[in-house]
Subunit: 284 residues, 2 copies
């Protein structure tokens, strides 16, 4: 049985992902506390036994007694929290996060953080189309990837600690990427796909089409139910990488469009053969 | 128990969909025969008891004894078959198809068809990413829509017959649309989504990304495994409707891109709110 040595874990930001962390870690026997400004979330988590203690304030005792702190905040809120409250952190404590973009977070936080506390960044690539602690569910980790994004400031021990965290949370696969590699990858696999789903959904007032919808349209637009505050922030913080991917996609889609307009059957087939060949890798 | 009165049904073109029809109808007790140029398909279907009789040739006896004929051919092949072999059809027989585009088929076939045979067009909106009779499976009809696309040349009896066929095949919902409405709808819900999936798959040699792929990318590209002969023909035969939808999508996606480039957070959020609101209709 794998273990992380911090028996006292604090989760700051108890939403869908923070709550799912709490559920998984509590079941493993850790003592879990949480700080979350939404009072109802703390009340819910205490009532259902997901956490042992909680507050809607940055309680110095809760913060000061945690050996590990997991941040489930949006990127800018995360930075602001560290700026204002890092003096309350326990010396020697370990910090990680769940943020979906990395370059804009990792270097800033490591730069401003006290030298006796270590921040090792990670991204649990899991989610649902609903949010809030009430919808948290650690089964979403089972088939998901957990990415650790260390910098040269991180100790080997912190990287190992963070990989262990991903494993005990139940993730299928743990990977190491640089913050730059992470943002490039996430721009393509996650952010571009969300842009496509949103555009497909907004490009027509297709209410009357619900009756005829098959699996393909439903699958492509599942992620079009989107938390606009979180995703607009994530898009803007990864603007350069996402724009590059959007432009590549526009070019490719435009080529397919022009082939259709020119009735270039051979060109269309060639694109489809390439697509089929590449997609096959994902079913192996 | 609903019924169609034709006890002797011929399927011309025994692929994934034709084969799935054969399985469903055979189980209901109909006598099923099939004509399919691929010898192995006929052999497989006979060996597994999916059909009672079959031939890789346009056998006059099989054709002449069928009270209903279901065509599982590509659009151009379907038209060619009718042109060459309609003299063999039984007087009074009923014909339908499974073709994914309608305007280009329905009027031409009805125009050239013998007056003592009726063609009522339909589209089973079901499929898989694999093909061939060996992969046929009528469970794909369970959650799917069956669209009947009559013209003013069709009798009320033929429309009812075709709706009954859809019901006994096990489709969830039977609808009536004009060929024009059908092609408009299918251009958006099915063809545009396939264009998007193909473009997403071809826009980057993303082999190394397989390891990090989450549900959203897999969902968006599932249909990127595509039968290039069939889909290029369907795209070209619905060129005007599909181009209109592709251009609308390009415009919408381009707007989102420009909002990101301009760091227009409010604009991005507005698109996401609209997308979320519209997508919610599909989960009701």
């Amino acid at each position: 049985m794998e273990w992380i040595s911090n028996s006292n874990i604090l989760i700051v930001g108890l939403g869908l992902i923070g709550g799912s962390y709490a559920r998984a870690l509590k079941r493993l026997g850790y003592r879990i506390s949480a700080i979350e400004t939404r009072k109802e979330s703390i009340a819910y988590a205490l009532r259902t036994g997901m956490i042992d203690a909680g507050s809607d304030q940055p309680d110095p005792e809760l913060i000061g007694s945690a050996e590990a702190v997991i941040f489930g905040l949006y990127p800018e809120a995360f930075k602001a929290w560290i700026r204002e409250h890092q003096d309350k952190l326990k010396p020697g404590s370990m910090i990680t996060d769940v943020t979906g973009v990395k370059r804009c977070i990792v270097y800033d936080i490591q730069e401003m953080l006290r030298p006796d506390v270590e921040f090792i960044a990670s991204h649990p690539m899991a989610g649902r189309e609903v949010y809030g602690v009430e919808n948290s569910d650690d089964r979403i980790f089972r088939d998901a990837n957990f990415i650790v994004t260390p910098t040269e400031k991180n100790s080997a021990a912190a990287v190992e600690w963070c990989k262990s965290l991903g494993r005990i949370l139940g993730f299928r696969k743990i990977s190491i990427l640089s913050p730059e590699e992470h943002d490039e990858m996430i721009g393509f696999l996650s952010q571009l796909t969300h842009c496509i789903a949103v555009s497909l959904m907004t490009c027509s007032d297709n209410h009357h089409l619900v009756d005829y919808t098959g699996d393909s349209f439903r699958d492509l637009t599942r992620i079009a139910r989107i938390n606009e505050d979180m995703w607009s922030e994530l898009f803007l913080l990864n603007k350069d990488a996402l724009l590059t991917h959007m432009d590549l996609f526009l070019q490719e889609f435009g080529e397919l469009r022009d082939m259709l307009a020119a009735e270039d059957a051979e060109g269309l087939k060639e694109k489809m053969r390439l697509s089929t060949e590449r997609r096959a890798w994902f079913d192996m």
